[in-house]
Symmetry: C2
Subunit: 247 residues, 2 copies
Amino acid sequence: MNDVINQLKNHRSIRKYSSRPVSREQVEEIVAAAQAASSSSNVQAYSVIAVTEQARKDKLAELCGNQAYISECPVFLVWCGDLTRLKSAAERHLPDRETFEESTESFIIATVDAALAAQNAAVAAESLGLGIVYIGGIRNRSGEVADLLGLPELAYPVFGMCLGYPDQEPGLRPRLPQESVLHWNRYDRERSEQGVEKYDEVMVEYLRKRTGGAKDTAWSVLMAEKLAQPARLHMREFLQKRGFLLK
Amino acid sequence: MNDVINQLKNHRSIRKYSSRPVSREQVEEIVAAAQAASSSSNVQAYSVIAVTEQARKDKLAELCGNQAYISECPVFLVWCGDLTRLKSAAERHLPDRETFEESTESFIIATVDAALAAQNAAVAAESLGLGIVYIGGIRNRSGEVADLLGLPELAYPVFGMCLGYPDQEPGLRPRLPQESVLHWNRYDRERSEQGVEKYDEVMVEYLRKRTGGAKDTAWSVLMAEKLAQPARLHMREFLQKRGFLLK
Protein backbone atom coordinates (compact mmCIF):
# COMPACT_ATOMS: atom_id res chain seq x y z
CA MET A 1 0.00 0.00 0.00
CA ASN A 2 1.17 3.52 -0.71
CA ASP A 3 -0.16 7.05 -1.29
CA VAL A 4 -1.06 6.42 -4.94
CA ILE A 5 -3.02 3.26 -4.17
CA ASN A 6 -4.66 4.99 -1.22
CA GLN A 7 -5.78 7.76 -3.53
CA LEU A 8 -7.14 5.31 -6.10
CA LYS A 9 -9.05 3.37 -3.45
CA ASN A 10 -10.53 6.58 -2.10
CA HIS A 11 -12.17 7.59 -5.35
CA ARG A 12 -15.75 8.76 -5.07
CA SER A 13 -17.78 10.52 -7.72
CA ILE A 14 -18.40 14.20 -6.96
CA ARG A 15 -21.65 15.80 -8.10
CA LYS A 16 -21.50 19.07 -6.17
CA TYR A 17 -18.76 21.61 -6.81
CA SER A 18 -17.61 24.78 -5.07
CA SER A 19 -17.34 28.04 -7.01
CA ARG A 20 -13.54 27.83 -6.95
CA PRO A 21 -12.34 27.96 -10.56
CA VAL A 22 -10.17 25.40 -12.34
CA SER A 23 -7.46 27.06 -14.39
CA ARG A 24 -6.56 26.43 -17.99
CA GLU A 25 -3.11 25.36 -16.76
CA GLN A 26 -4.67 22.73 -14.50
CA VAL A 27 -6.68 21.32 -17.38
CA GLU A 28 -3.56 21.23 -19.53
CA GLU A 29 -1.65 19.43 -16.79
CA ILE A 30 -4.47 16.91 -16.36
CA VAL A 31 -4.62 16.28 -20.10
CA ALA A 32 -0.83 15.94 -20.26
CA ALA A 33 -1.14 13.14 -17.69
CA ALA A 34 -3.96 11.63 -19.78
CA GLN A 35 -1.78 11.70 -22.89
CA ALA A 36 0.88 9.64 -21.13
CA ALA A 37 -1.47 6.65 -20.83
CA SER A 38 -0.87 3.65 -23.06
CA SER A 39 -2.35 3.77 -26.54
CA SER A 40 -2.83 0.93 -28.99
CA SER A 41 0.24 1.03 -31.30
CA ASN A 42 0.57 4.71 -30.36
CA VAL A 43 -2.46 5.63 -32.50
CA GLN A 44 -3.79 7.98 -29.79
CA ALA A 45 -7.29 7.56 -31.19
CA TYR A 46 -9.11 9.96 -28.87
CA SER A 47 -9.75 13.65 -28.35
CA VAL A 48 -11.10 15.63 -25.44
CA ILE A 49 -13.21 18.77 -25.57
CA ALA A 50 -12.87 20.99 -22.49
CA VAL A 51 -16.13 22.91 -22.20
CA THR A 52 -15.98 26.07 -20.10
CA GLU A 53 -18.58 28.31 -21.80
CA GLN A 54 -21.61 28.48 -19.54
CA ALA A 55 -24.21 28.34 -22.32
CA ARG A 56 -22.59 25.28 -23.81
CA LYS A 57 -22.38 23.53 -20.43
CA ASP A 58 -26.05 24.35 -19.83
CA LYS A 59 -27.01 22.80 -23.14
CA LEU A 60 -24.90 19.72 -22.44
CA ALA A 61 -26.50 19.36 -19.00
CA GLU A 62 -29.87 19.23 -20.74
CA LEU A 63 -28.69 16.80 -23.43
CA CYS A 64 -27.25 14.48 -20.76
CA GLY A 65 -30.62 14.09 -19.02
CA ASN A 66 -30.78 17.33 -17.02
CA GLN A 67 -27.77 16.67 -14.84
CA ALA A 68 -27.33 20.05 -13.14
CA TYR A 69 -23.74 19.41 -12.05
CA ILE A 70 -22.68 19.66 -15.69
CA SER A 71 -23.83 23.28 -15.64
CA GLU A 72 -22.34 23.86 -12.22
CA CYS A 73 -18.86 22.39 -12.61
CA PRO A 74 -16.23 24.83 -13.90
CA VAL A 75 -14.92 22.49 -16.61
CA PHE A 76 -16.77 19.72 -18.39
CA LEU A 77 -14.60 17.33 -20.38
CA VAL A 78 -16.09 15.36 -23.26
CA TRP A 79 -13.92 12.35 -24.08
CA CYS A 80 -14.24 11.17 -27.67
CA GLY A 81 -13.09 8.11 -29.52
CA ASP A 82 -11.48 9.75 -32.53
CA LEU A 83 -10.14 8.22 -35.73
CA THR A 84 -10.16 11.54 -37.62
CA ARG A 85 -6.40 12.04 -37.51
CA LEU A 86 -5.86 8.49 -38.75
CA LYS A 87 -8.25 8.94 -41.61
CA SER A 88 -6.52 12.21 -42.59
CA ALA A 89 -3.18 10.42 -42.54
CA ALA A 90 -4.53 7.67 -44.78
CA GLU A 91 -5.99 10.19 -47.23
CA ARG A 92 -2.75 12.11 -47.35
CA HIS A 93 -0.35 9.20 -47.71
CA LEU A 94 -2.48 6.58 -49.45
CA PRO A 95 -4.55 8.63 -51.90
CA ASP A 96 -5.06 5.64 -54.19
CA ARG A 97 -6.83 3.56 -51.63
CA GLU A 98 -10.53 3.64 -51.16
CA THR A 99 -11.76 5.08 -47.95
CA PHE A 100 -10.39 3.73 -44.72
CA GLU A 101 -12.16 0.52 -43.73
CA GLU A 102 -13.84 1.01 -40.43
CA SER A 103 -14.28 -2.10 -38.29
CA THR A 104 -15.47 -3.18 -34.88
CA GLU A 105 -11.77 -3.52 -34.04
CA SER A 106 -10.99 0.13 -34.78
CA PHE A 107 -14.06 1.15 -32.79
CA ILE A 108 -12.69 -0.81 -29.82
CA ILE A 109 -9.30 0.85 -30.22
CA ALA A 110 -10.82 4.34 -30.22
CA THR A 111 -13.07 3.58 -27.25
CA VAL A 112 -10.31 2.00 -25.18
CA ASP A 113 -7.80 4.76 -25.99
CA ALA A 114 -10.32 7.37 -24.82
CA ALA A 115 -11.03 5.45 -21.61
CA LEU A 116 -7.37 4.88 -20.66
CA ALA A 117 -6.57 8.55 -21.20
CA ALA A 118 -9.65 9.66 -19.27
CA GLN A 119 -8.88 7.46 -16.29
CA ASN A 120 -5.39 8.94 -16.09
CA ALA A 121 -7.05 12.37 -16.19
CA ALA A 122 -9.36 11.35 -13.34
CA VAL A 123 -6.40 10.21 -11.24
CA ALA A 124 -4.43 13.37 -12.04
CA ALA A 125 -7.42 15.59 -11.20
CA GLU A 126 -7.97 13.89 -7.86
CA SER A 127 -4.28 14.23 -7.04
CA LEU A 128 -4.77 18.01 -7.42
CA GLY A 129 -7.67 17.97 -4.95
CA LEU A 130 -10.33 18.13 -7.65
CA GLY A 131 -13.35 15.88 -7.87
CA ILE A 132 -14.76 14.21 -10.95
CA VAL A 133 -17.78 12.26 -12.10
CA TYR A 134 -18.09 10.33 -15.34
CA ILE A 135 -21.19 11.13 -17.39
CA GLY A 136 -22.49 8.24 -19.49
CA GLY A 137 -25.52 10.43 -20.21
CA ILE A 138 -23.41 12.06 -22.93
CA ARG A 139 -24.62 9.13 -25.05
CA ASN A 140 -28.33 9.90 -24.43
CA ARG A 141 -28.59 12.32 -27.35
CA SER A 142 -25.28 11.68 -29.07
CA GLY A 143 -26.13 13.35 -32.36
CA GLU A 144 -27.00 16.65 -30.74
CA VAL A 145 -23.86 16.51 -28.59
CA ALA A 146 -21.73 15.86 -31.67
CA ASP A 147 -23.32 18.83 -33.45
CA LEU A 148 -22.93 21.14 -30.44
CA LEU A 149 -19.22 20.34 -30.16
CA GLY A 150 -18.58 20.39 -33.91
CA LEU A 151 -17.23 16.85 -33.93
CA PRO A 152 -15.95 15.63 -37.29
CA GLU A 153 -16.91 12.29 -38.74
CA LEU A 154 -15.13 9.41 -36.96
CA ALA A 155 -15.20 11.16 -33.59
CA TYR A 156 -17.88 10.16 -31.07
CA PRO A 157 -18.52 11.15 -27.45
CA VAL A 158 -17.76 8.13 -25.24
CA PHE A 159 -18.48 9.83 -21.90
CA GLY A 160 -18.29 13.19 -20.22
CA MET A 161 -16.42 14.11 -17.04
CA CYS A 162 -17.22 16.95 -14.67
CA LEU A 163 -14.21 18.62 -13.08
CA GLY A 164 -14.17 20.95 -10.08
CA TYR A 165 -13.39 21.40 -6.41
CA PRO A 166 -15.67 19.15 -4.32
CA ASP A 167 -18.39 20.71 -2.21
CA GLN A 168 -19.62 17.42 -0.77
CA GLU A 169 -18.17 14.37 0.92
CA PRO A 170 -20.03 11.33 -0.32
CA GLY A 171 -19.00 8.10 1.34
CA LEU A 172 -17.26 5.32 -0.49
CA ARG A 173 -19.62 2.99 -2.35
CA PRO A 174 -18.78 -0.68 -1.74
CA ARG A 175 -17.67 -2.67 -4.76
CA LEU A 176 -18.25 -6.31 -5.64
CA PRO A 177 -16.20 -8.71 -3.49
CA GLN A 178 -12.94 -9.32 -5.29
CA GLU A 179 -13.86 -12.98 -5.86
CA SER A 180 -16.54 -11.77 -8.29
CA VAL A 181 -14.16 -9.96 -10.62
CA LEU A 182 -10.70 -11.49 -10.11
CA HIS A 183 -10.16 -15.02 -11.42
CA TRP A 184 -6.98 -17.08 -11.27
CA ASN A 185 -5.89 -18.80 -14.49
CA ARG A 186 -9.46 -19.66 -15.54
CA TYR A 187 -12.82 -17.94 -15.21
CA ASP A 188 -14.63 -19.31 -12.13
CA ARG A 189 -18.28 -18.52 -12.62
CA GLU A 190 -19.50 -20.18 -9.43
CA ARG A 191 -17.14 -18.18 -7.24
CA SER A 192 -18.12 -15.01 -9.09
CA GLU A 193 -21.83 -15.62 -8.45
CA GLN A 194 -21.19 -16.39 -4.77
CA GLY A 195 -19.59 -12.97 -4.51
CA VAL A 196 -22.73 -11.40 -5.96
CA GLU A 197 -24.85 -12.99 -3.22
CA LYS A 198 -22.63 -11.46 -0.55
CA TYR A 199 -22.62 -8.12 -2.38
CA ASP A 200 -26.41 -8.04 -2.49
CA GLU A 201 -26.44 -8.12 1.31
CA VAL A 202 -23.70 -5.50 1.61
CA MET A 203 -25.49 -3.14 -0.78
CA VAL A 204 -28.89 -3.54 0.89
CA GLU A 205 -27.27 -2.50 4.16
CA TYR A 206 -25.37 0.35 2.47
CA LEU A 207 -28.52 1.71 0.77
CA ARG A 208 -30.56 1.48 3.98
CA LYS A 209 -27.97 3.47 5.87
CA ARG A 210 -27.52 6.03 3.12
CA THR A 211 -31.22 6.65 2.58
CA GLY A 212 -32.40 6.28 6.18
CA GLY A 213 -34.24 3.10 5.24
CA ALA A 214 -36.00 4.54 2.16
CA LYS A 215 -34.14 2.28 -0.26
CA ASP A 216 -33.00 -1.30 0.19
CA THR A 217 -32.96 -2.95 -3.21
CA ALA A 218 -30.33 -5.64 -3.74
CA TRP A 219 -27.68 -4.90 -6.37
CA SER A 220 -28.66 -7.85 -8.55
CA VAL A 221 -32.28 -6.64 -8.55
CA LEU A 222 -31.14 -3.14 -9.55
CA MET A 223 -29.11 -4.70 -12.36
CA ALA A 224 -32.05 -6.79 -13.54
CA GLU A 225 -34.26 -3.69 -13.53
CA LYS A 226 -31.65 -1.82 -15.48
CA LEU A 227 -31.53 -4.54 -18.11
CA ALA A 228 -35.31 -4.56 -18.30
CA GLN A 229 -35.14 -0.99 -19.60
CA PRO A 230 -32.40 -1.07 -22.20
CA ALA A 231 -31.08 2.43 -22.81
CA ARG A 232 -29.49 4.28 -25.70
CA LEU A 233 -30.61 1.86 -28.37
CA HIS A 234 -29.74 4.52 -30.97
CA MET A 235 -26.00 4.02 -30.50
CA ARG A 236 -25.41 1.65 -33.39
CA GLU A 237 -27.24 3.83 -35.88
CA PHE A 238 -25.59 6.96 -34.52
CA LEU A 239 -22.11 5.45 -34.77
CA GLN A 240 -22.69 4.26 -38.30
CA LYS A 241 -23.79 7.73 -39.33
CA ARG A 242 -20.55 9.07 -37.86
CA GLY A 243 -18.52 6.63 -39.97
CA PHE A 244 -17.97 3.95 -37.32
CA LEU A 245 -19.28 1.12 -39.44
CA LEU A 246 -18.70 -1.58 -36.78
CA LYS A 247 -18.13 -4.14 -39.50
CA MET B 1 2.53 19.07 -10.53
CA ASN B 2 2.88 16.44 -7.84
CA ASP B 3 4.16 12.89 -7.33
CA VAL B 4 1.06 11.24 -8.77
CA ILE B 5 1.11 13.33 -11.95
CA ASN B 6 4.86 12.79 -12.22
CA GLN B 7 4.30 9.05 -12.07
CA LEU B 8 1.55 9.18 -14.69
CA LYS B 9 3.71 11.26 -17.02
CA ASN B 10 6.59 8.84 -16.60
CA HIS B 11 4.69 5.82 -17.85
CA ARG B 12 6.53 3.65 -20.33
CA SER B 13 5.57 0.19 -21.50
CA ILE B 14 7.85 -2.54 -20.14
CA ARG B 15 8.53 -5.59 -22.28
CA LYS B 16 11.40 -7.16 -20.34
CA TYR B 17 10.96 -8.39 -16.79
CA SER B 18 13.33 -9.55 -14.07
CA SER B 19 12.81 -12.94 -12.41
CA ARG B 20 11.59 -11.25 -9.21
CA PRO B 21 8.14 -12.67 -8.47
CA VAL B 22 4.93 -10.72 -8.02
CA SER B 23 2.93 -11.99 -5.06
CA ARG B 24 -0.73 -12.91 -4.95
CA GLU B 25 -1.19 -10.12 -2.38
CA GLN B 26 0.27 -7.57 -4.79
CA VAL B 27 -2.14 -8.67 -7.51
CA GLU B 28 -5.03 -8.44 -5.06
CA GLU B 29 -3.95 -4.96 -4.02
CA ILE B 30 -3.67 -3.86 -7.66
CA VAL B 31 -7.10 -5.27 -8.47
CA ALA B 32 -8.58 -3.61 -5.38
CA ALA B 33 -7.34 -0.29 -6.78
CA ALA B 34 -8.83 -1.23 -10.15
CA GLN B 35 -12.19 -1.97 -8.55
CA ALA B 36 -12.31 1.53 -7.09
CA ALA B 37 -12.47 3.09 -10.56
CA SER B 38 -15.74 4.57 -11.74
CA SER B 39 -18.24 2.19 -13.31
CA SER B 40 -21.32 3.02 -15.35
CA SER B 41 -24.25 2.98 -12.86
CA ASN B 42 -22.13 0.70 -10.69
CA VAL B 43 -22.65 -2.24 -13.06
CA GLN B 44 -18.97 -3.26 -12.80
CA ALA B 45 -19.24 -4.97 -16.16
CA TYR B 46 -15.73 -6.41 -16.32
CA SER B 47 -13.62 -9.29 -15.00
CA VAL B 48 -9.91 -9.91 -14.92
CA ILE B 49 -8.13 -13.25 -15.20
CA ALA B 50 -4.72 -13.33 -13.52
CA VAL B 51 -2.70 -15.93 -15.37
CA THR B 52 0.30 -17.31 -13.48
CA GLU B 53 0.54 -20.90 -14.79
CA GLN B 54 3.51 -21.10 -17.10
CA ALA B 55 1.89 -23.36 -19.69
CA ARG B 56 -1.11 -21.08 -19.95
CA LYS B 57 1.07 -17.99 -20.29
CA ASP B 58 3.08 -19.75 -22.99
CA LYS B 59 -0.08 -20.55 -24.93
CA LEU B 60 -1.34 -16.98 -24.54
CA ALA B 61 2.01 -15.63 -25.76
CA GLU B 62 1.53 -17.69 -28.91
CA LEU B 63 -2.12 -16.65 -29.35
CA CYS B 64 -1.17 -12.97 -29.00
CA GLY B 65 1.25 -13.12 -31.94
CA ASN B 66 4.29 -14.71 -30.29
CA GLN B 67 4.97 -11.97 -27.79
CA ALA B 68 7.61 -13.60 -25.57
CA TYR B 69 7.17 -11.17 -22.69
CA ILE B 70 3.77 -12.74 -22.00
CA SER B 71 5.60 -15.99 -21.21
CA GLU B 72 8.30 -14.17 -19.30
CA CYS B 73 6.28 -11.87 -17.04
CA PRO B 74 5.29 -13.40 -13.70
CA VAL B 75 1.61 -12.39 -14.00
CA PHE B 76 -0.42 -11.82 -17.12
CA LEU B 77 -3.76 -10.11 -16.61
CA VAL B 78 -6.54 -10.56 -19.16
CA TRP B 79 -9.11 -7.78 -18.84
CA CYS B 80 -12.56 -8.75 -20.05
CA GLY B 81 -15.73 -6.82 -20.73
CA ASP B 82 -18.21 -8.97 -18.84
CA LEU B 83 -22.00 -8.82 -18.74
CA THR B 84 -22.34 -12.35 -17.30
CA ARG B 85 -23.25 -11.23 -13.79
CA LEU B 86 -25.87 -8.86 -15.18
CA LYS B 87 -27.43 -11.55 -17.31
CA SER B 88 -27.53 -13.90 -14.31
CA ALA B 89 -29.26 -11.19 -12.28
CA ALA B 90 -31.83 -10.67 -15.01
CA GLU B 91 -32.50 -14.40 -15.29
CA ARG B 92 -32.91 -14.69 -11.55
CA HIS B 93 -35.11 -11.67 -10.96
CA LEU B 94 -36.94 -11.32 -14.25
CA PRO B 95 -37.60 -14.91 -15.25
CA ASP B 96 -40.59 -13.92 -17.40
CA ARG B 97 -38.61 -11.73 -19.71
CA GLU B 98 -37.03 -12.99 -22.82
CA THR B 99 -33.28 -13.02 -22.86
CA PHE B 100 -31.46 -9.83 -22.04
CA GLU B 101 -31.28 -7.56 -25.05
CA GLU B 102 -27.69 -6.97 -25.95
CA SER B 103 -26.91 -3.66 -27.64
CA THR B 104 -23.99 -1.60 -28.87
CA GLU B 105 -24.57 0.52 -25.76
CA SER B 106 -24.05 -2.39 -23.36
CA PHE B 107 -20.95 -3.39 -25.32
CA ILE B 108 -19.58 0.13 -24.82
CA ILE B 109 -20.35 -0.04 -21.09
CA ALA B 110 -18.52 -3.35 -20.69
CA THR B 111 -15.53 -2.18 -22.74
CA VAL B 112 -15.22 1.15 -20.91
CA ASP B 113 -15.65 -0.43 -17.47
CA ALA B 114 -12.83 -2.87 -18.26
CA ALA B 115 -10.58 -0.06 -19.50
CA LEU B 116 -11.13 2.27 -16.53
CA ALA B 117 -10.43 -0.55 -14.07
CA ALA B 118 -7.36 -1.66 -16.02
CA GLN B 119 -5.87 1.82 -16.12
CA ASN B 120 -6.23 2.12 -12.36
CA ALA B 121 -4.46 -1.24 -12.12
CA ALA B 122 -1.65 0.05 -14.35
CA VAL B 123 -1.22 3.13 -12.15
CA ALA B 124 -1.31 1.03 -8.96
CA ALA B 125 1.22 -1.44 -10.37
CA GLU B 126 3.63 1.31 -11.37
CA SER B 127 3.31 2.88 -7.92
CA LEU B 128 4.59 -0.43 -6.53
CA GLY B 129 7.63 -0.32 -8.80
CA LEU B 130 6.20 -2.79 -11.29
CA GLY B 131 6.11 -2.33 -15.04
CA ILE B 132 3.23 -3.09 -17.37
CA VAL B 133 2.45 -3.31 -21.06
CA TYR B 134 -1.00 -3.52 -22.58
CA ILE B 135 -1.47 -6.36 -25.07
CA GLY B 136 -4.00 -5.64 -27.83
CA GLY B 137 -2.80 -8.88 -29.43
CA ILE B 138 -5.21 -10.67 -27.08
CA ARG B 139 -7.79 -9.89 -29.78
CA ASN B 140 -5.78 -11.63 -32.53
CA ARG B 141 -7.29 -15.06 -31.84
CA SER B 142 -10.08 -14.11 -29.48
CA GLY B 143 -12.00 -17.36 -29.71
CA GLU B 144 -9.04 -19.48 -28.68
CA VAL B 145 -8.23 -17.09 -25.82
CA ALA B 146 -11.84 -17.27 -24.60
CA ASP B 147 -11.72 -21.08 -24.68
CA LEU B 148 -8.35 -21.25 -22.92
CA LEU B 149 -9.60 -19.06 -20.08
CA GLY B 150 -13.03 -20.69 -19.87
CA LEU B 151 -14.83 -17.41 -20.44
CA PRO B 152 -18.62 -17.63 -20.26
CA GLU B 153 -20.88 -16.11 -22.89
CA LEU B 154 -21.01 -12.31 -22.58
CA ALA B 155 -17.40 -12.03 -21.45
CA TYR B 156 -14.76 -11.04 -24.01
CA PRO B 157 -11.02 -10.29 -23.74
CA VAL B 158 -10.53 -6.54 -24.35
CA PHE B 159 -6.75 -6.50 -23.80
CA GLY B 160 -4.05 -8.23 -21.84
CA MET B 161 -1.55 -6.66 -19.45
CA CYS B 162 1.88 -8.01 -18.51
CA LEU B 163 2.93 -7.35 -14.94
CA GLY B 164 6.41 -7.68 -13.48
CA TYR B 165 9.51 -5.93 -12.21
CA PRO B 166 11.18 -4.04 -15.07
CA ASP B 167 14.45 -5.26 -16.46
CA GLN B 168 14.83 -2.48 -19.00
CA GLU B 169 14.66 1.29 -19.07
CA PRO B 170 12.98 2.32 -22.30
CA GLY B 171 12.84 6.06 -22.86
CA LEU B 172 9.63 8.02 -22.90
CA ARG B 173 7.87 8.00 -26.26
CA PRO B 174 6.71 11.49 -27.28
CA ARG B 175 2.97 11.98 -27.59
CA LEU B 176 0.99 14.16 -29.97
CA PRO B 177 1.24 17.88 -29.17
CA GLN B 178 -1.59 18.73 -26.84
CA GLU B 179 -3.21 20.95 -29.47
CA SER B 180 -3.99 17.78 -31.44
CA VAL B 181 -6.05 16.14 -28.71
CA LEU B 182 -7.31 18.92 -26.44
CA HIS B 183 -9.98 21.24 -27.83
CA TRP B 184 -11.66 24.16 -26.07
CA ASN B 185 -15.45 24.32 -26.29
CA ARG B 186 -15.56 23.11 -29.91
CA TYR B 187 -13.55 20.63 -31.94
CA ASP B 188 -10.84 22.48 -33.87
CA ARG B 189 -9.79 20.23 -36.69
CA GLU B 190 -7.30 22.61 -38.25
CA ARG B 191 -5.39 23.04 -34.99
CA SER B 192 -5.44 19.29 -34.48
CA GLU B 193 -3.94 18.65 -37.93
CA GLN B 194 -1.25 21.29 -37.39
CA GLY B 195 -0.22 19.38 -34.30
CA VAL B 196 0.15 16.23 -36.38
CA GLU B 197 2.57 17.99 -38.72
CA LYS B 198 4.77 18.97 -35.80
CA TYR B 199 4.48 15.48 -34.32
CA ASP B 200 5.63 13.90 -37.58
CA GLU B 201 8.90 15.82 -37.26
CA VAL B 202 9.29 14.97 -33.58
CA MET B 203 8.71 11.27 -34.20
CA VAL B 204 11.09 11.09 -37.17
CA GLU B 205 13.79 12.52 -34.93
CA TYR B 206 12.84 10.19 -32.06
CA LEU B 207 12.90 7.08 -34.28
CA ARG B 208 16.22 8.06 -35.85
CA LYS B 209 17.80 8.42 -32.43
CA ARG B 210 16.28 5.25 -31.05
CA THR B 211 17.24 3.08 -34.01
CA GLY B 212 20.56 4.67 -34.86
CA GLY B 213 19.12 5.95 -38.11
CA ALA B 214 17.58 2.65 -39.22
CA LYS B 215 14.01 3.95 -38.97
CA ASP B 216 12.66 7.39 -39.68
CA THR B 217 9.06 7.03 -40.80
CA ALA B 218 6.73 9.88 -39.90
CA TRP B 219 3.88 9.05 -37.51
CA SER B 220 1.18 9.89 -40.02
CA VAL B 221 2.80 7.55 -42.55
CA LEU B 222 2.92 4.77 -39.95
CA MET B 223 -0.75 5.38 -39.22
CA ALA B 224 -1.65 5.30 -42.91
CA GLU B 225 0.26 2.03 -43.30
CA LYS B 226 -1.54 0.62 -40.30
CA LEU B 227 -4.90 1.51 -41.80
CA ALA B 228 -3.90 -0.04 -45.10
CA GLN B 229 -3.68 -3.39 -43.31
CA PRO B 230 -6.83 -3.54 -41.23
CA ALA B 231 -6.41 -6.07 -38.42
CA ARG B 232 -8.70 -8.32 -36.45
CA LEU B 233 -11.60 -8.19 -38.85
CA HIS B 234 -13.08 -11.20 -37.06
CA MET B 235 -14.05 -9.12 -34.02
CA ARG B 236 -17.67 -8.48 -34.94
CA GLU B 237 -18.39 -12.11 -35.70
CA PHE B 238 -16.52 -13.24 -32.60
CA LEU B 239 -18.44 -10.83 -30.36
CA GLN B 240 -21.77 -11.86 -31.80
CA LYS B 241 -20.97 -15.50 -31.13
CA ARG B 242 -20.22 -14.58 -27.53
CA GLY B 243 -23.62 -12.92 -27.19
CA PHE B 244 -22.54 -9.33 -27.77
CA LEU B 245 -25.06 -8.66 -30.51
CA LEU B 246 -23.99 -5.02 -31.08
CA LYS B 247 -27.54 -4.14 -32.10
